[in-house]
């Protein structure tokens, strides 16, 4: 072997070594963990908020009130002292307005996040009827079901999007506390032992909702300026129906939105 061969070999070996050295893994560093914090409510400038108010009226012939026969459970009959009880869905106020209408901001508030209030919404069972008949809760807000009756009830919400449950509540038992994780309009609630009992729970993501009372009015306060779709839901006459309206609110503005329902055919 002569000198040239040696040189060539040396070259090849050194090249190989160099390559090996270069191919060493680059230092793998990991970024520090980003801290994911719990959902913070979007701050709202309270000085600019507006308000939507309105009235829900009823058009056409009033539905004939249907008497509820509670003779299945004497305890229920007793609670009403023998007075006839009528289905809430047939109720129309004396002034031609509708009670039990759930009015809420359907869209327009998606850019805001809201924390669920810590106080629960209470649903009472009184005289084998739900009180209130229509109610709204926010997502993850506690719904507290209490019973003032001497008979056993079971509370059976039948949602489409949320998880279904069905709990028995004997007289004097502790209140049942549950939450709904997903927005849903409306969740019917029933008692399998007293089939006439019916409540509707609206689960929404924002606090902008209201239920009309005996005067048929509602008001939604604390709305930041913007354009909203407001929906009214009612089960008047027995069949659920809804109406939409769009409303734009300027800073500190107060707008009126009126709805008018007919009994479903």
């Amino acid at each position: 072997m002569n000198k040239r061969h040696l040189l060539a070999l040396a070259f090849v070996v050194s090249l190989a070594l160099f390559l090996i050295a270069c191919s060493k893994k680059e230092e793998t560093t990991e970024q520090p963990a980003e801290t994911t914090t719990a959902v913070q409510p979007t701050p709202i400038d309270q000085s600019t908020v507006g308000e939507v108010t309105g009235k829900v009226s009823f058009d056409g012939t009033k539905p004939k009130p249907h008497q509820i026969m509670m003779d299945q459970d004497p305890a229920c009959v007793k609670a009403h002292g023998g007075k006839p009880v009528y289905a809430e869905d047939d109720e129309v106020n004396g002034n031609g307005t509708l009670p039990n209408v759930f009015v809420y901001v359907k869209s327009g508030a998606e850019n805001y996040t809201f924390a669920a209030p810590s106080d629960p919404v209470v649903l009472d069972q009184k005289g084998c009827m739900y009180d209130p008949h229509v109610l709204g809760v926010m997502v993850d807000q506690t719904l507290k079901v209490v019973s003032s009756d001497p008979t056993t009830h079971n509370i059976h919400p039948m949602p489409k999007d949320n998880r279904e449950w069905n709990m028995s509540q004997p007289p004097g038992a502790a209140p049942i506390e549950q939450k709904f994780a997903r927005p849903e309009i409306m969740i019917p609630v029933k008692c399998n032992q007293h089939p006439w009992m019916r409540a509707y729970v609206g689960v929404v993501k924002n606090p902008f909702f209201s239920v009309t009372g005996s005067d048929g009015t509602f008001s939604i306060k604390g709305l930041p300026p913007g354009t909203y779709t407001v929906e009214a839901w009612t089960a008047v006459g027995g069949t659920p129906q809804t109406q939409d309206q769009t409303v734009t609110i300027g800073p500190k503005e107060s707008k009126t939105v009126d709805f008018s329902f007919k009994a479903a055919s």
């Binding site: 249907h66 004497p74 279904e164 004997p170």
Partner: protein, 1084 residues
């Protein structure tokens, strides 16, 4: 030699340049070959490198995300308290552990000292013992022994370190035995110490394990530690062929050489693996659960997906898309075809909805009417083979009888007693054999009967056409059934006018002529109520187009009044299995009243009277339809029929008259056509009952060589357009069967026979694949998938899914479930929804309460013997059949399917198997109630707080009108006690969404205790109260129930209850629903 004036061209010319160039080119070629070997044919190397890079990058990104999640979990209270607990425990055990460790160390030191001496000594002793054993002379042995004894006597000097903390070292001298003892003692001592330490630390280590796995158990995804582990694995990744090799099945799959991430524990999507086409190769398997069922190490990839698992030199080759590869990769939309070759016996394949749909469609669409397919429509074939067996047995019996005679005769004349006895014995044996054969024949006879009960036809019985149909309507229907009823499964045969007339005439003249009893009209309003609530809509629909409501399984009934006789319709609704005349397969004709009269018998035929009066063979006594009997009163049947009549769009008389129907010449021609088109595959037709299907057998159609598929004139076109493959053939054939007649010159009657099952959206426009509705496309895709998977497998049969036991029961059960459309009303698994569940009248809270029971845990719920009884007769009563045996409070009713015992047995086993319940069922023995316990149970049942009797029926009509749950009296026979116990504790766990509320019991001191206020008698009771109720329910007698009712008294039923109002309420549970039910059917 003279001077060369010119250079010699041969010698002078140099070829060096040429040679050089040639050699250079050669070297280049060799280099090329090397490149090809290492890179050109190894594209997977690039894939793997790319994968490793991308995967690493992705993992790197994932680490902080998961770290944050971990932090959140570590911050949780549970974890913190665990940590504190652990720390406290560690602190408390630490000093003791240290002490133990120190002791161990001292023992170790002493052991070492002993061993130092012992090792040498043992080696010496060992060698001497060997010598003794191998020395032959006794004296030699003795001398070595002596030597050895001297050695053993020692002394061996030991320098031992201190035994106690702070003790002194010692020096002792011992003999060999003592030395060994010393060592053994030390060993024992060490063992004890170690055990002590382990016992001390066990709770600590258990808690430690809990803490360690806490994060892993609670995190969504992988922990940072395991992510790092994966990264480490890939840091030193070795690029090489990744293959699954299963020589047992001949599987060599290298798919994972490119699809590296298919089994990675991290879920990889296309999105996070890059933007180029390669990213598609790096995703995780979309259904990891499938991989858990089918271990890739055993099954590889190609048995399910097809492709060429071995050849990974090119992507197309690996996917088997090159010519001459028989198993190209299944396209995405037909990927489930791969399941079929092993799951051919399953009607329902989990994880494969498309394939399952295809299997179902093959039955529902009536494909099996013409095309044989192993497993489908098995009854007729089995019937034939059963009859053959009977014939053979009868022959054997006759021979045996002759032999008996002969043996006896021979015995009588035998020369000696011994021989005679032998012959008599033989005669006796034969007589026993004959009895056995006779019994076997009886059994087979019964089997024939059952098989005839189970044999069904896809289409209606055409023998009844004359009593059922308005004659003018027949050609209208035959011309294009889809035009008349778009959703029908009856396909369109491409009849021309002549054929149409001939077929119509044949069917009309071939049918039975009889008179039906006249039926008075019913009340259509009531009929509509019944139709919408009795469960008819689980299979049938009404309304057309967008207005269509109801099930898909059976006919749309909107226009049924335009074609059917009212009288026939009433009979059909009242009992669809009722036949005008029974059919005798032996005589191959329908029997008339005369046949019965001849033998002095009344013209009565049903399952109890199913033998032919002429020859004693089993008759077909019922319509071969799957439609069940709803056990409605004749009045309700009239109401429903009247209601259906009101839906028709026009009067039957408005169809053009068809005078030719009675032309006898047309009949002959018609029969030929009907025969050649295989109509008898789906319909019962007089004279054609035993016709065979006219189509090709399709069991292994997917592996039929392409060359043998009849592409007709479309080979070139198909090749150019890329559908010259099985998929293309099936799709085109299904979408438009006549396409392969296009351009062909054929004589009349030679055209392709397969009818059009799917109607083009626009019939005028002729296209290779006509435009079909999305639903048709879906069905074609499902059927194509099914057929593509129907192959002769190249894998050993032991790889097929052919389970025994419960797996087999489930397999067989699904065939029946699909056959009778049980899923129209019932839910078997949570993902699947019944037809009724989707109907509007069952959407409201009260509507949901009216749904038929879900059968999620049916096998665990009911006693199989009871279930068999119930399936055979759901009214559970022989006299009062217009009721539901269990849930009479529901309007919807479990009908009678007249299942044969074969199918009942299969269904019962199916339900038991679905719930992993053993068969036979041996009930748990329940402890009898003491008098005290009976009183307690009564008290609980009648207390105001226990709502059981509010919903559960008790047999009193005034109470049961409100009932929404079955009578407890059924429990003992119907239910299994274990299930009942679980059920009353928390029904929502068994049947989510049930009306039965949870929270009736709470746990206290290891027992379940009633949640409400308990009656005073329970004071001091320590037993399980749920178990008490179960025991009470299973002991419940009618008398006891009466007693309960009396005890409850007013609580159950107020005196003020007025049957009139309650009747009204019962029928309209809530007004909202009532309104909806009205909206269901379109105005007319």
């Amino acid at each position: 030699m003279p001077e060369n004036p010119e250079k010699d061209p041969v010698i002078g010319q140099s070829l060096a340049l040429y040679l050089l160039v040639a050699v250079l080119v050669l070297v280049f070629c060799l280099g090329w070959a090397l490149w090809e070997e290492f890179f050109g044919l190894r594209p997977w190397k690039t894939y793997q490198r790319a994968f490793v890079a991308r995967y690493e990058a992705y993992l790197k990104k994932q680490v902080p995300v998961q770290a944050a999640k971990e932090k959140a979990i570590e911050a949780s209270g549970d974890y913190q308290s665990l940590q504190q607990q652990l720390a406290a425990m560690k602190n408390s055990t630490a000093p003791q552990a240290k002490e133990l460790d120190d002791q161990t160390a001292r023992v170790d030191a002493r052991t070492t000292a002993v061993l130092n001496v012992l090792t040498t000594a043992r080696a010496y002793v060992g060698s001497r013992v060997y010598e003794i054993e191998h020395t032959s002379s006794q004296s030699g042995k003795a001398s070595i022994q002596k030597d050895l004894d001297r050695y053993k006597a020692g002394p061996f000097v030991l320098d031992l370190p201190p035994a106690e903390a702070g003790g002194k070292s010692e020096r002792i001298s011992v003999n060999f035995d003592q030395l060994q003892d010393e060592f053994n003692i030390l060993q024992q001592e060490k063992g004890k110490l170690l055990l002590q330490k382990a016992a001390l630390l066990r709770p600590v280590s258990e808690l430690q394990a809990k803490v360690d796995s806490y994060v892993k158990d609670h995190i969504d995804g992988l922990t940072v530690e395991s992510l790092r582990g994966i990264r480490k694995k890939y840091e030193d990744y070795d690029v090489k062929i990744q293959q699954v090799n299963n020589p047992d099945a001949g599987i060599v799959d290298r798919c994972e050489s490119c699809h590296v991430g298919i089994r990675e524990p991290v879920e990889l999507t296309r999105k996070n693996m890059g933007k180029d086409a390669m990213a598609g190769a790096f995703t995780s398997h979309p259904d990891m659960e499938l991989l858990h069922i089918h271990d890739p190490e055993k099954f590889g990839c190609t048995p399910c997906h097809n492709g060429n698992g071995m050849d990974i030199a090119r992507v197309e080759k690996a996917h088997g898309h090159d010519e001459h590869w028989l198993w190209p990769l299944f396209p995405k939309e037909n990927v489930e075809a791969g399941c079929q070759q092993c799951h051919a016996r399953d009607m329902m394949v989990d994880h494969a909805p498309v394939l399952s749909q295809g299997k179902d469609l093959f039955m529902w669409r009536g494909c099996m009417g013409c095309h044989q397919y192993k497993g489908y429509n098995a009854e007729p074939e089995e019937l034939v083979s059963t009859e053959r067996s009977i014939e053979q047995l009868e022959k054997d019996r006759a021979t045996d009888q002759l032999d008996v005679q002969k043996s006896i005769q021979a015995g009588d004349q035998a020369p000696d007693n011994e021989t005679a006895q032998k012959l008599y014995l033989k005669a006796n044996e034969l007589q026993v054999t004959i009895s056995k054969i006779s019994l076997q024949i009886d059994e087979l006879d019964r089997r024939t009967k059952y098989l005839m009960m189970d044999a069904k036809k896809v289409g209606p019985d055409l023998k009844e056409v004359a009593v059922k149909i308005h004659s003018d309507w027949i050609p209208v229907w035959l011309d294009n059934p889809h035009a008349w009823r778009p959703t029908t499964r009856m396909p369109r045969f491409r009849f021309d006018e002549d054929e149409l007339q001939a077929v119509s005439a044949f069917i009309w003249q071939d049918a039975i002529k009889a008179a039906l009893p006249q039926q008075p009209p019913g009340d259509p309003v009531k009929g509509r109520q019944s139709f919408e609530t009795r469960g008819c809509m689980g299979c049938h629909s009404v309304g057309e187009g967008a207005n269509r409501v109801g099930g898909w399984f059976a006919a749309n009934l909107t226009r049924v009044g335009e074609k059917d006789n009212y009288d026939y319709l009433v009979r059909w609704i009242h009992n669809p299995r009722e036949r005008t005349e029974p059919y005798c397969p032996y005589e191959k004709r329908d029997l008339t009243a005369d046949d019965y009269k001849k033998h002095g018998l009344p013209f009565v035929f049903d399952h109890e009277h199913s033998k032919c009066p002429n020859d004693g063979h089993e008759l077909q006594v019922e319509q071969m339809t799957v439609m069940p009997n709803l056990r409605l009163s004749i009045q309700e049947a009239r109401d429903i029929a009247s209601y259906l009549e009101t839906l028709k769009e026009k009067d039957p008389s408005s169809y053009p008259a068809v005078p030719y129907l009675n032309d006898p010449k047309l009949k002959e021609k018609g029969e030929l056509i009907v025969r050649s088109y295989g109509c008898a595959g789906c319909h019962e037709i007089a004279g054609l009952e035993s016709e065979k299907g006219i189509g090709t057998e399709l069991t292994v159609e997917g592996s039929k060589p392409l060359e043998q598929m009849d592409f007709a004139l479309f080979v070139r076109e198909a090749e150019e357009e890329g559908w010259y493959n099985h998929k293309g053939f099936f799709e085109h054939k299904l979408a438009q069967p006549e396409i392969f007649d296009k351009g062909m010159v054929k004589a009349e009657g030679e055209e392709l026979k397969m009818p059009d099952f799917f109607e083009p959206i626009d019939a005028k426009e002729v296209k290779a694949i006509p435009e079909l509705s999305a639903q048709s496309h879906e069905q074609i895709e499902a059927l194509t998938t099914f057929l593509m998977g129907s192959v002769t497998s190249q894998y050993p049969e032991r790889y097929f899914y052919e389970p025994s036991g419960q797996g087999k029961d489930i397999q067989e059960g699904w065939w029946i479930v699909k056959k009778y459309n049980c899923e129209g009303c019932h839910q078997f698994t949570l993902g699947q929804s019944s037809v009724l569940m989707t109907l509007p009248q069952y959407q409201t809270p009260d509507g949901k309460g009216q749904l038929p029971p879900r059968l999620l845990t049916e096998g665990a719920r009911v006693n199989p013997e009871w279930l068999a009884r119930f399936l055979a007769n759901p009214s559970l009563s022989d006299s009062d059949t217009d009721r539901d045996g269990v849930r009479n409070y529901l309007k919807v009713r479990m009908p009678t399917f007249y299942l044969s015992p074969i199918e009942v047995r299969k269904l019962v086993r199916f339900f038991q198997a679905l719930s992993q319940q053993p068969i036979p069922y041996i009930p748990r023995k329940l402890e009898p109630l003491t008098a005290q316990e009976t009183d307690m149970a009564r008290a609980l049942f009648t207390s105001q707080a226990a709502p059981c009797l509010k919903c559960h029926a008790i047999g009193l009509p005034a109470h049961d009108q409100y009932a929404s749950a079955p009578n407890f009296l059924l429990a003992a026979q119907r239910l299994k006690p274990d299930w009942v116990r679980h059920w009353i504790l928390d029904p929502a766990l068994i049947d989510p969404g049930t009306a039965m509320p949870s929270g009736l019991f709470k746990q206290a001191e290891g027992h379940s205790v009633f949640a409400g206020p308990t009656p005073p008698i329970f004071k001091g009771y320590n037993g399980d109260q749920a178990e008490l109720l179960v025991r009470y329910l299973f002991e419940l007698t009618p008398q006891e129930q009466q007693r309960l009712i009396q005890m409850s008294g007013k609580n159950l039923m107020p005196a003020s209850a007025k049957p009139a109002t309650s009747e009204l309420r019962r029928h309209s549970p809530h007004r909202a629903e009532r309104a909806l039910v009205g909206m269901l059917t379109p105005a007319h």
